[in-house]
């Protein structure tokens, strides 16, 4: 089957400010052989394939077929350590995940946690039982922070647009 090349995405990936190292990849498979997720998923997750898909601009494979799915990466950086070409794979995978978020297609679990930071400034909020446990341990409350200051910053960067709920229909046209 013929795969369409998304030149715009390819340019973004190759753009220096992300990581120019990707163009040095010669598909040696060191990353995949060292990857614990590849091991545990019997090769279903495969960092080498993700890199070649990104390098060639095969966005349908990355974003639609999710073959392999970038969301399986635990960012353990084992591949970064082993790559003979010093490709910063984890950074590239984080960038691809950012692109998912921009398309409003990040998995619900991710979206929920990003929203928690946007709405509370914390990924994991306090619970009443934990508060009581803190008291019994003689611990005062964690230092307070100015939530408005944080929200101002996040709005300035545009996080409010990224975390809002988007109906799937509104979003369908973005596909190539």
């Amino acid at each position: 089957m013929v795969q369409e090349i998304n030149f715009d995405f390819r340019k973004k990936i190759l753009d220096k400010h992300i990581s120019s190292t990707i163009s040095y990849c010669y598909q040696c498979t060191s990353c995949t052989s060292a990857c614990p997720i590849a091991d545990i998923t019997d090769g279903k997750y495969n960092p080498r394939k993700l890199i070649i898909n990104a390098l060639l601009g095969l966005t349908e494979k990355i974003f639609v077929d999710k073959d392999p799915s970038v969301w399986d990466c635990t960012q353990c950086c084992t591949c970064d350590e082993i790559c003979p070409q010093h490709v910063k794979l984890t950074e590239i995978f984080a960038f691809i995940k950012n692109q998912f978020a921009e398309r409003h297609e990040a998995p619900e679990g991710f979206l929920g946690e990003a929203r928690a930071v946007y709405e509370n400034g914390l990924a994991i909020p306090m619970q009443s039982a934990i508060k009581r446990r803190r008291d019994s341990l003689g611990l005062s409350d964690p230092p307070e922070f100015d939530y408005d200051e944080l929200k101002d910053i996040m709005k300035m960067i545009g996080l409010d647009k990224l975390v809002k709920k988007v109906d799937k229909e509104d979003n369908a046209e973005g596909e190539n």
């Binding site: 635990t74 611990l139 960067i157």
Partner: protein, 331 residues
């Protein structure tokens, strides 16, 4: 008070989210131990989520950089390097620090935003993991000296990923495959650090995989637990609350999800290093947050630490049940 106050090590104490809001007993133990070791901890007033290197960095790198940078400016106001108890916070804060110190474009971008809320990253502080503070700043030798009681446990050390990688900007001489520092810290407590297969493997929680693909995440944990059980470890010791959550709560989840393939359910106690260090220093188990309050529901540890604690207490001459009573009355 003597006049060595000027020599006192001072740190900006970055709590993060998971420890204060899920594992406060780890904060208790760390504060108690570091105080005993003469380190001054300065609260980071105004600090927020680091933000998380997995979930949040994956979501939006620019926001991750700016919020991380904002947290670093608080340490700069404190005029003290950051110490964090969490591998995730360490990953974010250290990598943001490195980017802002070495990449002008990113520094300008971050400061452009911070300027609008009256802040600026100057590059005057450095981010350290608690393991680094213990091993280098306080020093392994000092730890060996203060750890007066041999705990006599067989320990499975779990390093966790961000403590070690990317190794180029970590303080462990580029070693990420066979590091020894954590094992040495554990051996200082009169414990044996047992080798086990895939010791350096991720706990499975990282990168937001725990949130997004739970079954893959738990399969990692199942594999680690299987290898740890094989070598007969009394407990797991780690220095990251997110790994701890995964190995502690995740253990209960593994027992459910994989009940048909694991045989016996897992019941391996999980400790944070400072909890055991405190015991070895002769500090009170209650002051180290080691005695669980069973009347509080939903509070960790979810996998009981009791079997390992009873073993240690027997050696140190404490009565476990008396301590439970004491802890009850202390409230």
């Amino acid at each position: 008070m003597t006049d060595d106050v000027s020599n006192k090590m001072a740190y900006s104490f970055y709590l993060g989210c998971v420890i204060p809001n899920r594992y406060p007993m780890v904060e208790r133990a760390t504060r108690t131990v570091l105080d005993e070791l003469g380190a001054e901890l300065r609260d980071m007033k105004g600090a927020t989520c680091c933000p998380a290197p997995g979930v949040f960095r994956s979501f939006d790198i620019p926001t991750w950089l700016v919020i991380g940078g904002r947290n670093l400016t608080i340490a700069e106001d404190n005029q003290a390097d950051v110490v964090t108890m969490c591998n995730g916070c360490y990953g974010t804060l250290l990598e943001v620090e490195h980017a802002l110190k070495h990449e002008e474009k990113k520094r300008n971008y971050v400061n452009e935003h911070l300027q609008k809320v009256g802040r600026k990253f100057k590059g005057s502080i450095h981010v350290k993991h608690l393991a680094e503070v213990l091993y280098y700043d306080i020093g392994l030798k000092k730890i060996q000296d203060v750890a007066i009681h041999d705990l006599g446990l067989k320990v499975a050390v779990h390093y966790g990923c961000h403590l070690l990688k990317p190794s180029a900007i970590r303080p462990w001489d580029g070693e990420s495959e066979e590091p020894r520092f954590f094992d040495e810290l554990v051996e200082a407590l009169g414990c044996e650090s047992v080798d086990y297969r895939d010791k350096m493997m991720c706990c499975g929680a990282g990168g937001g995989v725990r949130s997004a693909v739970k079954e893959v995440s738990l399969d990692f944990t199942r594999h680690k637990l299987e290898e740890i059980r094989k070598v007969g470890a009394d407990c797991i010791v780690n220095m990251c609350p997110f790994c701890m959550l995964q190995l502690d709560l995740g253990q209960v989840e593994v027992n459910g999800v994989f009940k048909d393939i694991i045989g016996e359910p897992y019941n391996i106690p999980v400790f944070y290093y400072t909890q055991l260090l405190g015991l070895s220093m002769g500090l009170n188990p209650i002051d180290l947050g080691l005695i669980k309050q069973h009347d509080l529901k939903g509070v960790p540890p979810f996998t009981s630490q009791e079997p390992a604690l009873r073993k240690i207490f027997k050696k140190l001459g404490y009565n476990y049940d008396e301590l439970v009573e004491q802890a009850k009355n202390k409230k």
